[in-house]
Symmetry: C2
Subunit: 434 residues, 2 copies
């Protein structure tokens, strides 16, 4: 029963407290699905914004602004009066005490939804992280954008041809959707956007190398879509190395098998690992550090603790539920529904993932789409990809602005967000005076 | 005479080399004015972007994205084939050797245009810089935006009423155009944009204090415009302290005269000083560290060295030429013309500054405008301000996008660029569990 309006706080029958950790697709979906439940919700995120992660590579490649793909969580949920948003970092969960340990205090809960997602995994080579940043946060995206743009600036001033070559070589490791999208976008920028803006180098000569351990790009997609994506990448000038392993990342050099490739800019799009918070739950994790959940998305022995989205390891009909936005959204809604059912004294249902299809873009006018076996490639797939991503963007302003930004980029071959907001690194060498 | 197309570099009669330091309004205007001159131009900036500084406060107050008010210099000048753009930092000028010392090499010149602008001056209190950042670069603007937004986040979680009050108090020091614009925008955000988004605090109770040493706001404007601006600020809830001196800035406290004001967020908009590069020219500077130039904008004894824009100290008809975009643009054009005249063997003309008027905005529907004594205030002035600033924006994309961003902010009272892209600082205290 909701407390009477205007009743003093102290007199309230406090409704059950649902704590949601993480304001990504899963956490936000859970919070929204609890709008009418007789609970008070606290959503905790260490960032103030929800991030539309599928478009993060567009920030990394200067097509979109950071704020085009992010909305303040507080703003998104402002009308939902039973939610409090906290900007704070959860460092551990004490499942016995039913309390979340924040970096600066504790937060008791009655029900907990853990949706803190995944981070990069360097497969035991954490020393690679500095030279090959991954792409999970806005900061990551801005860092990669800086490195990418600064490489051309440095090449413009570099007298040594070999180092110039390394500055104009970009290696993307991992050919899943993120890797394919990054490599495709990098090749397009070099060949179109920057083509005429330099005097001492020709950006069109830049080399983009995409390295993948298995024998095709987009390994999670149907083989015919992998083949289409490979053809589109090749047509755009991306060098794709299949069945190739990265064996070392040194300063300005990536080793692929035995071959050293001189490259100053490297992007990591290969491995993910569950967020470190998972280890504090005291339950079994899979090899990638994700939490093995039961059919209600709860952890063993604690039906009040749910794990959803990229942090949860679940299989359905023998195959794993993929780490995509839809999986997180459906998981968040299911956890919310389960809480509501329990409060009404009903039996929870098991989670059933409904596959709405998958899509990835390779660049201007090229994408691959798979919806329950209906497969599209090329221009049509690209327009489908565009429509779905614009409609899915959470905040109305973003939707309009992203559409316009894209329309503009599309018509002009330009990229609006080409800012370098750091000082020039001291390693840039002066060009000789011509 | 231009060298033949396709002639090998080595055989060219090298045209005179004009080096421009700084890609602000002055440097860019000079480069453009040299488009048809028989010179090669090198424009050096330590940032890759030209910044539309008059709108910087809009980034600091989350209305615009950094890239809305910045354009890559390389992109702006891409069609002007006689210009090379270098991303590099000039640390000194050797006027005898006719060479610029970069952080990583030397750059000889035949003609030099120094347009490196101004930085903040804390009037001998450099220890205030950390607690009261100024507003000159995109980084400054993003830093202020972070502090401003984080203050509300921290207040939402702060149990101690006194500290919560300090978190919700914002002090702006200096009531020139930047200070007035900042204070007006901060008051609007607290009263409108954030009004409904918090649960434990009411952002409408935030206090914005504007401190000015002389007896009116906008001291460089006509007294009637100062009075109008003061009335508008007061109506928006800004506390204006006139004839007040800041005597100390400590952690979470600003001393105005003898009175301590508890405030966690402080912005410095009071003093400017010429860029440190001026000191390496070996010529007399004024008290603010600006270079005293002659009627051709050159320095004593070196007619080939020009100083323009905010870094130049010049008077005309007894009053100083103001440090505004128009002064820099006209100075840059004049320096370019002087170089061209000298190359043609003609006598240089003296610089005459043409005052095109000045304007400042206080917030939604309120501005002051003065064009040769024609003075506007209120809504009409605000629309005039908007029109001039949109038209002046250098890059077409920016113009369209800024217009749309503004239209959206105006209609929705929202602010689109409310990103905090830093980790939560450890000083944020947890709220008690209600």
């Amino acid at each position: 029963m909701a407390p009477a309006r205007g009743a003093p706080k102290i007199a309230r029958m406090s409704p059950p407290h649902v704590v949601i950790l993480g304001g990504g697709f899963g956490g936000l979906a859970a919070a929204r699905a609890l709008a009418k439940a007789p609970v008070r919700v606290t959503l905790v995120d260490r960032q103030n914004h929800h991030l539309f992660q599928p478009l993060l590579y567009q920030v990394a490649t200067a097509a979109l602004n950071p704020s085009d793909i992010a909305a303040p969580i507080r703003h998104v949920l402002r009308k939902q009066r039973n939610v409090t948003v906290l900007l704070a970092e959860a460092v551990a969960v004490d499942v016995r005490a039913r309390s979340v340990t924040l970096a600066d205090g504790d937060l008791p809960y009655d029900h907990l939804i853990v949706a803190t997602g995944a981070t990069h995994s360097y497969f035991g080579h954490d020393e690679w992280a500095r030279r090959a940043p991954g792409l999970k946060t806005l900061e990551d995206a801005v860092e990669i954008r800086q490195r990418f743009l600064l490489a051309f600036e440095a090449a413009e001033r570099e007298p040594d041809p070999e180092r110039r070559r390394a500055l104009l070589t970009f290696v993307v490791i991992g050919a899943g959707p993120t890797g394919v999208e990054m490599a495709g976008a990098m090749a397009e920028i070099a060949r179109h956007t920057l083509a005429t803006e330099f005097r001492n180098i020709d950006p069109r000569g830049a080399r983009v190398v995409l390295v993948e351990g298995v024998d095709r790009v987009l390994p999670a997609y149907a083989p015919e879509l992998s083949a289409s994506a490979l053809a589109e990448l090749t047509r755009r000038g991306v060098e794709v190395r299949l069945g190739a392993r990265v064996t070392g990342i040194e300063d300005e050099c990536v080793r692929v098998g035995d071959e050293p490739i001189g490259a100053c800019t490297v992007v990591w799009a290969a491995g993910v690992a569950g967020s470190p918070l998972a280890r504090t739950l005291g339950v079994p994790l899979d090899r990638a550090g994700r939490v093995i959940v039961d059919a209600t998305l709860s952890i063993p022995g604690h039906p009040e603790v749910f794990v959803i989205g990229d942090l949860a390891a679940m299989t359905q009909d023998g195959s794993p539920i993929p780490g995509v936005a839809q999986g997180a959204i459906q998981g968040g809604q299911h956890a919310a529904e389960t809480i509501a059912r329990r409060l009404r004294g009903e039996t929870p249902r098991g989670f059933v993932y409904k596959d709405l299809g998958s899509m990835a873009t390779i660049g201007r006018n090229a994408a691959v789409v798979d919806v329950n076996g209906t497969r599209l490639t090329g221009v049509l797939a690209w327009w489908a990809w565009l429509a779905v991503h614009i409609l899915a963007l959470i905040d109305f302003r973003n939707r309009v602005f992203v559409l316009l930004s894209w329309a503009w980029s599309y018509l002009s071959f330009g990229r609006g967000a080409r800012l370098i907001t750091r000082k020039v690194p001291p390693t840039l060498i002066t060009r000789d005076d011509d």
